[in-house]
């Protein structure tokens, strides 16, 4: 009864807003370069065509892979001067920083009103929810448990089939090593790159359900499977380029393009990078999931939320409804090189994206640690530090201890 009332009220409000839609809406993001910027501008242009009375203020903050933007956003939110809506990674990056302090509005009722609540996979809705309410709308989706490889070298070292098991993967790495190539290109100058590999190994060891349970506080981090994930990381270190600590992820990915390295485990933004270098997906480079994670989609997603006291709240809601539409998602994602958050949107004609979108529809979803979805930022830095120590000292018990401390610090289970 009460719910109905809210829905009617909301629809009345939105009908009213259709008539009163004018003025501006300020969108805050760190999409300032390359395909991201292009995608954002194309989407804004389309929105302004649909709603000619609403002018979009495109407030972007460049630099430091979003770190500058996050700093500006914190200040604005603290100072009571929020934008109308802002880009944020799905999950804890939003929850811990803004939802728990009570700075965000729940969006569940709107999603239901717009009839899009079930157009996103349940696993993704879980990630963007806190205590049963959705707090942000997913626009883009990236996958991080993908290994890309140089097809020419792959053939040259005598491989015919993509590795499916850990053993096959190690064998393939051995072959690459024997042929004098860098088996696994890694660039962990900014630390998260190595952390990302470990989180994927954790997914492989725990499986999606148990991995997610770690971060729901249902499963203790003090688990043998964490040890084995760390052991596998140590094993992988036999196959990476010696200067990994001096490289950023692009420089590592470029080793594939330069025919120096065979494999690269990286989020699928690397696919977009290979394409800008002029490589053709499926011809010059191939991909497969990290063995053991074939049934899981490790996810990074850009979402948009609604801050309390948004200065142009009505326009913000109109814009969010637009972002949740198939139309907007199909404009934005192919340009950025990501897949739509909605499972009923068309991913475009890139073979990698088509395949990934298909996986996204059917696979279990796990949130990324290092991109802020699974746990608070304080955990992320300590986790990266632990992995960073592991990579150099190969000391598994110490790394595990550091991860346990970090988990304990943010209230996760370690007993």
């Amino acid at each position: 009864m009460k719910k109905w009332f809210v829905l009617i009220l909301l629809s009345l409000v939105s009908v009213m807003t259709v008539f009163s839609q004018s003025g501006v809406v300020e969108i805050f993001s760190w999409w300032t370069g390359g395909g991201e910027e292009e995608a954002l501008l194309a989407t804004i242009a389309d929105f302004e065509q649909l709603y000619p009375n609403i002018k979009v203020i495109n407030a972007t903050v460049a630099g430091g892979a979003g770190t500058n933007a996050k700093a500006v956003l914190k200040t604005r939110m603290l100072g009571g001067n929020p934008p109308d809506t802002f880009q944020v990674h799905a999950g804890w990056e939003l929850t811990d920083t803004y939802v728990i302090p009570g700075l965000m509005e729940p969006l569940t009722d709107y999603l239901k009103l717009w009839d899009v609540y079930d157009k996103f996979p349940a696993g993704l809705i879980d990630i963007v929810s806190y205590e049963g309410e959705v707090y942000s709308i997913p626009l883009t989706v990236h996958r991080s448990n993908v290994i890309f490889y140089n097809k020419k070298l792959f053939k040259e070292i005598g491989l015919t089939k993509e590795p499916e098991t850990w053993k096959e993967f190690i064998d393939a790495l051995e072959k690459a090593k024997a042929a004098g190539y860098i088996p696994l290109a890694m660039g962990d100058k900014e630390k998260w790159e190595a952390g990302q590999i470990v989180e994927n190994l954790m997914v492989a060891e725990f499986g999606a359900v148990n991995y997610n349970a770690l971060f729901n506080g249902e499963l203790s981090f003090n688990d043998k499977r964490l040890d084995s994930a760390l052991e596998k990381m140590v094993q992988l270190m036999n196959y990476v380029n010696v200067d990994h600590a001096a490289l950023a992820w692009q420089e590592a990915a470029r080793l594939l393009y330069d025919d120096k390295a065979v494999f690269n485990l990286m989020g699928d933004w690397a696919e977009g990078y290979f394409k800008t270098l002029g490589w053709v997906p499926g011809e010059d480079f191939g991909w497969f999931e990290l063995p053991g994670t074939q049934a899981v989609f490790v996810l990074i997603s850009d979402t948009f939320g609604l801050p309390k006291n948004a200065p142009h709240r009505n326009n913000a809601i109109i814009f969010l409804e637009y972002l949740a539409s198939v139309r907007a998602q199909e404009i934005f994602n192919p340009i950025k090189g990501s897949i739509p958050g909605r499972i009923d949107a068309d991913p475009g004609d890139d073979p990698y994206l088509i395949e990934t979108a298909e996986d996204f529809r059917i696979l279990a979803i796990s949130p990324s640690i290092v991109h802020g979805s699974a746990a608070p930022e304080a955990f992320v830095t300590s986790f990266n530090d632990a992995v960073n120590a592991l990579v150099t000292t190969k000391n598994i018990s110490q790394a595990k201890q550091m991860i346990l401390w970090a988990a304990e610090d943010v209230g996760l289970v370690t007993k």
């Binding site: 770190t67 700075l103 200067d243 600590a245 080793l255 992320v380 960073n388 150099t392 000292t393």
Partner: protein, 307 residues
């Protein structure tokens, strides 16, 4: 009121605004940082709520147990030691050569001082590229490539990405120390040069008449005269070194297993990446204490003499 008193009063009132500003922006702010460092403000939500909860020295205790912070302290120690030794050693050495007034010594003097004018950020960017090791042994880069071209391949190593250490001294600090010495040794040289030029000529000439050799003159006459300069140089370089940030941030970051990490970098990360304001403040206060241990005695002795 006497003229003297009037003047003294005027002097005090001229200084007063500066005293107030320094009082607030230095001493009061330090107090606030101490206060934050003993609080539970270790998440953004705690900060937003703004409820101050005193946790005593817990943040400090955790830091001293934290392996990364321990590494930071060792790194600071060794960095400071070698940075100081490098600057004072090279500075003194070059000052003595320039002081010979060879032809073109002005040119050399200016050249060695040049790096001083440049931002650590620029220096760090450039040296970071020079010392990038490349994928050894097949694809050397930077200085390693230069070594290869000069037939010195056996000197190639991983530079600031090396995880080797001698005791607690991380070898990865060597390229950072080189960059820092490159930047600051000219400054120390200039200080010594001024000191050397202030030594009365008669003193040297008199000892030459007495048959003193160059080495003797250097150790017996020049060095004692230069002692205050050495102290000044060590204070300036030392306090710079204890809070080094820009150079590391631009050149290496914290490096594999924090081999080039410093308290300032860790503090920055805790504050702006992890939202651990209390921990970050504790690091800042520890840094302040390290500097204070050096500076306060120095200020005390500098001002004790002159009333």
């Amino acid at each position: 009121m006497s003229v003297q008193k009037k003047k003294a009063r005027a002097g005090f009132f001229i200084i007063l605004p500066s005293l107030i500003f320094i009082g607030i922006f230095v001493y009061y702010f330090i107090f606030l940082t101490v206060r934050t460092s003993t609080s539970n403000w270790n998440s953004f939500s705690a900060l937003v709520k703004g409820e101050y909860q005193f946790v005593g020295l817990r943040n400090y205790q955790r830091l001293f147990k934290d392996p990364r912070f321990q590494t930071d302290l060792w790194n600071t120690l060794f960095f400071t030691l070698f940075f100081l030794a490098g600057c004072v050693g090279i500075g003194l050495f070059l000052a003595n050569i320039i002081d010979k007034k060879l032809k073109g010594s002005n040119f050399f003097q200016n050249l060695f001082l040049f790096p001083m004018a440049i931002s650590y950020v620029v220096t760090g960017t450039v040296w970071g590229w020079i010392f990038a090791p490349g994928n050894l042994p097949s694809d050397p880069q930077g200085i390693n490539l230069l070594f290869q071209k000069l037939g010195l391949s056996k000197f190639q190593w991983m530079w600031y990405t090396s995880t080797k250490s001698i005791g607690k001294f991380n070898l990865a600090l060597i390229p950072v120390i080189i960059a820092a010495v490159w930047q600051m040794s000219g400054y120390v040289m200039a200080m010594y040069l001024a000191g050397l030029r202030a030594i009365p000529e008669e003193l040297i000439e008199a000892s030459q008449v007495d048959g003193a050799t160059g080495t003797q003159i250097f150790w017996k006459i020049k060095m004692p005269m230069l002692r205050p300069i050495t102290l000044s140089a060590m204070i300036v370089i030392g306090h710079m070194s204890l809070k080094i940030f820009d150079l590391i941030y631009a050149m290496t970051g914290s490096g594999p297993n924090n081999v080039t990490d410093m308290p300032a970098i860790y503090m920055f990360e805790q504050m702006f990446r992890s939202n651990r304001y209390a921990t970050a403040s504790a690091i800042a206060i520890i840094m302040l204490l390290m500097v204070a241990v050096v500076i306060i005695p120095y200020l005390y002795y500098s001002f004790r003499g002159s009333k």
